[in-house]
Symmetry: C2
Subunit: 299 residues, 2 copies
């Protein structure tokens, strides 16, 4: 797409449709036995998520002259990891949330046991999808699976959630908070763009640039999430607002203040834009627009 006629709204709409059709095809049908399990899986996957991670994956593939088709199994895989992690995060023993994306959370509809299992199965789906992608000259299935496993594992995504849990009610330093956010959110966003680039057989220099871009955007994204939790209503967010404060979660606004948090988000996004300098401008229109969109979102 050229700079002139690029519309982020179109990219979102087409990308979402593409990812949704991929997920529909790659996930087991809801009629698969046991039916309730597969309904629970699809309930959360199709509960109106923004598909930010898959869109970043597709946009990164574009940036490296790749195609959406090749990136699709990976885009779907990161969405499955994201969704499994939300289902488990919402459980009574974890964040105990009733609402997610404006709808009752998985365990509210299917019960706790089925929600645990649906999350477990979605993680497995993610790895099956990843193993189903096409290998490239530079990246084999080993590289793709290891990439996802590292981002989703006990040193990154799950590390962030565990540290977040342990930090409740504690006074955190900014670096401790950054440890959590980099793992809880940034790791999977970075992985999404890296996988997109890898699906396009990107050279190491481009993969480095995507890594830097993904890290910065990922951290910015979580800082903004923290800010929105303070500044927006439950209705706008589609999830319980003010939740961080009431559950005594450490957030950027609570640790460094609201305005400094906004400045941090701005600086991170600038650094992300800078990383995109490694690519010709016309190839990163979508990535750049997505990053800009993240700073302007209100939910």
């Amino acid at each position: 797409m050229s700079l002139k006629n690029f519309q982020l709204a179109d990219f979102f709409e087409q990308g979402e449709r593409f990812v949704n059709s991929g997920l529909k095809r790659l996930l087991p049908p809801s009629s698969t036995k046991p039916k309730k399990l597969h309904e629970a899986i699809r309930y959360s996957i199709f509960a109106g998520g923004k598909r930010l991670r898959p869109l970043l994956c597709l946009a990164a593939a574009e940036a490296c002259r790749g195609t959406w088709e090749r990136a699709l199994p990976l885009a779907c895989a990161v969405e499955c990891i994201h969704t499994y992690s939300l289902i488990h995060d919402d459980l009574p023993a974890m964040d105990d949330d009733d609402l997610r994306r404006g709808k009752p959370t998985n365990h509210k509809v299917y019960g706790e046991a089925m929600a645990i299992l649906a999350g477990d199965a979605l993680q497995t789906c993610a790895f099956e999808m990843t193993a189903g992608c096409e290998a490239t000259a530079r990246y084999g299935h080993q590289a793709f699976v290891q990439e996802l496993a590292r981002a989703a594992g006990s040193r990154q995504l799950v590390a962030g959630q565990a540290a977040d849990l342990e930090a409740e009610g504690e006074a955190l330093s900014r670096s401790e908070l950054q440890f959590i956010h980099e793992r809880k959110t940034s790791a999977l966003l970075r992985c999404s763009v890296r996988l997109g680039g890898m699906s396009a057989d990107c050279p190491p220099r481009e993969l480095d640039a995507l890594t830097e871009f993904g890290s910065r955007v990922g951290l910015a994204f979580q800082v903004i999430d923290d800010i929105l939790d303070v500044t927006q209503s439950t209705e706008t967010l589609g999830k319980t607002a003010g939740k961080d404060e009431s559950s005594q979660k450490a957030t950027y606004p609570s640790v460094v203040g609201l305005e400094p948090s906004q400045a941090i988000a701005r600086r991170l996004t600038d650094a992300a834009f800078k990383a995109l300098g490694a690519f010709p401008k016309r190839r990163v229109i979508a990535l750049r627009s997505l990053a800009e969109h993240l700073l302007e979102r209100d939910r």
Copy 2:
């Protein structure tokens, strides 16, 4: 090892030691941040499990002229899947068990939230380990990862647990019960021997024989588990005895009776032995002994 000097006790001891050292090396150290998460992971992994699945994996590699070394990452991976599934299965929202292998269950020691996360992370570890195995001429990383993902996924392992959950308090037919047992237990046991064979680059005919062997032994294993729950004490089992009946779980003894269940287990094991006919006798000593051991165990 020759028929003459094969000792199952030696195989168990050496195999266990080999698998334990592999797990110690392949899992993140318990000092990894966040410490509590990595302690919780290691607590359940090293809680005295029988390592039946990894031993089957190593024995299957032997049957196909492979080495323990090559099979090790896969042997460790199936143990991680097994352990994650036990941790989640013991949660209050699931089977609500206080004891596992004679020790307090994970959530009793680390709390529910950390137990959920430890289970999640163990599943991720399993896929990272699988992607870390050596590819063979016939089987690439895609094949290994897909093999594990299918056995662990929503059509097999998780399907069995979900169906088991839904069946509580229901009167099941024998075929419905078999649906559950084949998925809940047999799928991962079958996968363990298949992965062992694949690590040894086994030809399709041997893989078929291992598949048949694994399916039969796997189902026999669960039938015997059901029998032991009725006939043994909590002390002997190291987990709460009589649990199936008190939680109104459908079991082979409750559906077809105790003696017919014992006959079924015997028939399944005979069918498993028959499948081993595809291999020279001296190569399947360990596999055969393991299967015999399963029929004679009292816990």
